[in-house]
Symmetry: D2
Subunit: 341 residues, 4 copies
């Protein structure tokens, strides 16, 4: 059945699969000590326009968030984030499992704002009982957000400024970063992200790779003994070259951006069709996720013909669905979907 359910339902882009077949007869050192990891890190540093970035490769998103947050946040602190954040809602308590409270703030279109963050921190500091409360210790946002919206460069810079003013690092979860970088009107490019964030990720799983998340620490922010930290979180892949090879491929000839841009363009076509047909489209999103509110009856009919993501029951009669394109979405699939709408 036709599926726009998510952006991780296809194996990997052909370039990656092909290279996997070409390295069968070689032997590599394990745990990321291989040349592919070195080359991929070098290419990412170049794409970030910052030769000092420190790049690591992990397998999955929750694993990466758990490892980074637990390694960066002092143990007596929590991690501030939008209440819609993946770490707050969809990681089964992986952050709390490492002892850190998630400190959710009300989101708007999936985002939190710098003034809002500042107010939160100021109120914490002013509270006479704050030694008995969980101190905000780092800030987590994702780019794009859970709702496919994109922070502007100015918004991210302002968040970083407030975070730093309060002694906190800013972590930008880029599980779908490619889709933000290539969305219409985006002005926060990879080098901006690298200048603004203290640590961020470049997601592979949802943008062309089989699996893999690149973790980029900027300005010397790598935690001491990070290899051991990755290992103790169960996140050190034995055959690390599989990660290096994939990111080396994605960061050759701008493949990462090309794959993401295609997905956005396909989403744009769907979005335009939806609007033309009068659908209720939520959020001002320019990335690969589209959220529509339809009646329960409409939802049932649609879902009988195409696999879509179910978000939530809006009220007794309406539900919100997600239409998600990916680097693997074809023109033909989009034509079929539009015909169904």
């Amino acid at each position: 059945m036709l599926s726009f359910e998510n952006d991780y339902s296809s194996t990997a882009c052909p370039q990656i699969v092909q290279r996997m077949t070409q390295i069968q007869d070689e032997q590599y050192p394990g745990y990321g000590q291989d040349d592919y990891c070195t080359m991929a890190a070098q290419k990412i540093r170049k794409a970030c326009d910052d030769p000092t970035c420190d790049v690591w490769f992990l397998v999955g998103g929750t694993q990466t968030n758990q490892t980074v947050i637990d390694s960066i946040a002092p143990q007596y602190t929590g991690v501030v984030c939008p209440d819609s954040a993946h770490i707050n809602v969809h990681e089964a308590g992986a952050i709390e499992a490492t002892g850190h409270k998630v400190l959710p703030m009300p989101q708007q279109d999936g985002k939190i704002g710098a003034a809002q963050l500042d107010d939160y921190c100021e109120r914490f500091t002013a509270d006479a009982n704050h030694a008995h409360m969980v101190r905000p210790g780092m800030v987590y946002v994702s780019q794009p957000t859970e709702y496919g919206t994109v922070y502007t460069r100015e918004e991210l810079a302002a968040l970083a400024q407030v975070a730093h003013d309060h002694g906190m690092p800013l972590f930008i979860d880029g599980a779908r970063l490619g889709y933000a970088l290539t969305s219409d009107g985006n002005d926060a490019n990879l080098d901006d992200i690298a200048r603004i964030a203290d640590v961020f990720t470049i997601g592979g799983t949802k943008v062309g790779a089989m699996f893999g998340e690149a973790v980029v620490f900027t300005r010397g922010n790598t935690p001491a003994n990070f290899t051991a930290l990755v290992k103790l979180h169960g996140a050190l892949l034995a055959k690390g070259w599989l990660l290096g090879l994939q990111f080396d491929t994605l960061f050759t000839d701008d493949l990462y951006l090309k794959l993401a841009r295609r997905a956005n363009q396909e989403a744009d076509r769907i979005r335009q069709a939806l609007l033309e047909k009068g659908y209720d489209v939520a959020f001002v999103s320019q990335t690969n996720q589209i959220f529509i509110t339809v009646t329960t009856a409409q939802a049932e009919e649609l879902q009988s013909k195409v696999r879509l993501g179910f978000m939530e029951a809006v009220d007794a009669d309406h539900v919100m669905l997600r239409i998600c394109t990916s680097w693997a979405t074809t023109d033909d699939q989009v034509d079929q979907l539009i015909a169904l709408l």
Copy 2:
């Protein structure tokens, strides 16, 4: 300076201090294996009208919540509570430090309701992604609540019913339980609490003891190897008889209730005076805590003469203060306070 800041600013009731002086020449087995603990547990079982209750004695409130919750909640679950709950706001992340997410629900007057809880659980179960979310694993409420309000027996029974329907135990934090048991109009007596809760505490620290919280597991709910669990949470007092002696004293001749009732009566006098003088008194509370909203100027003047608890800034011009009586509050102190109002 006159102080109504909290209910843990006096050492202990005279009866307890006196008995402490009378046991100096004896030697006791450690870790709660002494006769005082046995006697105190027996008296508590009798007061609960349930000979099957299993009673343990720990030192402090946060420690007790941490130990009980981590021992009762399956590791893949969180603990549902009002968002004003002590475990959510004022325990510095002690619950998350054991790996459990706190799952706050909107409170009203410090309480959550059975229908609200049921709805929360139903929505969790209905969510297609719930295997990626934190499952509600137990329910935590306090009696009285953080705002001094009291659940009715019916409200508690309904919460327990919903909790049990969803496979969760109900934990009632009774750090100030005495003040609830003796408040006007309360209809949830100790034997009701014991019939309703799966585990609850009887707070000593704030109701006459130097320190100590009795943990009562009902209906065979004691976790396996609970001594080891207490020990590994750093909560096993070497000289356990100090806890047994105190609870034995508090549960002799209804001392626990007498001490609490006195504090409530003193609070009632203050509450009446506040209302007569036109103060803005928040919450319908009949226990030993009174919350008033005053102007910043009023607050400053009051606090120059009497130590009060500061709750929060309500708006730019108003703050909420807490007036707290205790078992140690004297008529004279209350007279002085009323004269100041």
Copy 3:
């Protein structure tokens, strides 16, 4: 350079790489809900001769040990194992990071014995202070062991019996299970393992797969809500079909055993050559790992020509090296190595 450093330096067997290239145009449900996972689990159940086995697929070994142990061992318990166990020595504290003490016992040839285990448990139970000690809560052994030796079926059955007598499950870490199953003289076949263990793993990473460990729970031992447990340990792969596809391939036409047997045969050739040339070969191992003790000078010379694993300095003048074959080792590589010895 020629390398016998380890058994995870090659990408994957050709059959797996080839199938990876054949599924590029398909879309699959995530998180292990796909048909490949279903088929692979079915084939593993058949190979285990037990239709009730419950099979899960995780990515890496440390991750798997961490997830399984933390999910199976009650929180107040530790995990008993040989002191040479991977979880005790080479997982960077991943087990303790989940709150469980590792309880190492003296090993012989990498093994512990049933009588030794029984004695350990009996002494624990008899200790007057045992409520203050870490209770043995599960037993972990690996098959083959860290030193390449193999437990007999009788030895494993005896360990399981003692474990069960003391209320503990037996976990057999089979990160290299194939090499044990196909070693000369082995009498513990996969169906025996499934009958004896409460949970065991079938390692893919070191036996032909790109990555992946199959976790097999027997006799209804799967922990409640194991999907959430996997997720909160950061171990749930989004594209689960990549794991299913690999294990489906490995368990088709006995490929798993064929790959392992080849590695053992190559190791046998090397072992024979070593013995003929008078090398000091440690442990009576019939699997793919060979441990030799050589002088420091010999070691340096060897390592200038072939990459070998360094185990430890035996004394001031001698070191122990590991020669490790894998499913990818070729006759030609072995010939080259033998010529060097």
Copy 4:
């Protein structure tokens, strides 16, 4: 029955009990913000001859070890200690519960040596796989040791030197520190301890107090936000003045040392009698603990008349018992015991 079972079977010295009775009518600020805590800390700083020491008061020993170690040791590290250490054997896994591996080293008479420690660390650093191993992150010893023996000043200084050379702090657990400070031949005085250790404790529970352990951080070693760290470990006593009052008392007129010295003198009398009567006394201990090896029959007879600590079965026919004096032991009790021997 006569008891020499342990040194925490009596409530508290009369001076402390008396002062407890004298503060009933006062109100104090909570959580250690009171004047008694301030005064006690000041007296301890003076006794340490170091005005920069930072002093905190916690309730119990395991709680204190857990809080200090988890606050000081980086999360990717373990704590090195003698294998007989309390944290390794008798804290029910409280250290591992915070995620840190305990790294036991073979002890001699309860001690580890500087050269042994250095060798351990050197071997760790030299190990090619050390990123996969648990890094030694701090050193824990107790003074006196679990066997009542005492480190010399030189031994402690050497341990500290090696620890510092390897980037680790030295933590001295002084749960029974008084008994070491006042033992015959001891040359490590309190000011020496303060000069040598990075953090140490002064035990109250076993040396005259009802309960309480003073934690002393030297040279600015206090962890950031230690109040919150204490709170999140469940170790912050509401009525902190109870701790301050006790330590203020113990550090007035050298009471702490006087109480401990008496216990040592009583132990010396017993030790001498034991040696005269030909008992097999283990360890060269000059503190309040005496370990004797007797036949099972002798043990049974002794234990029918006096409560002693049971240590372990030495062999089929012999057991080791512990005779423990305390600040509360009377001449008469010792006379009775000697008569029984």
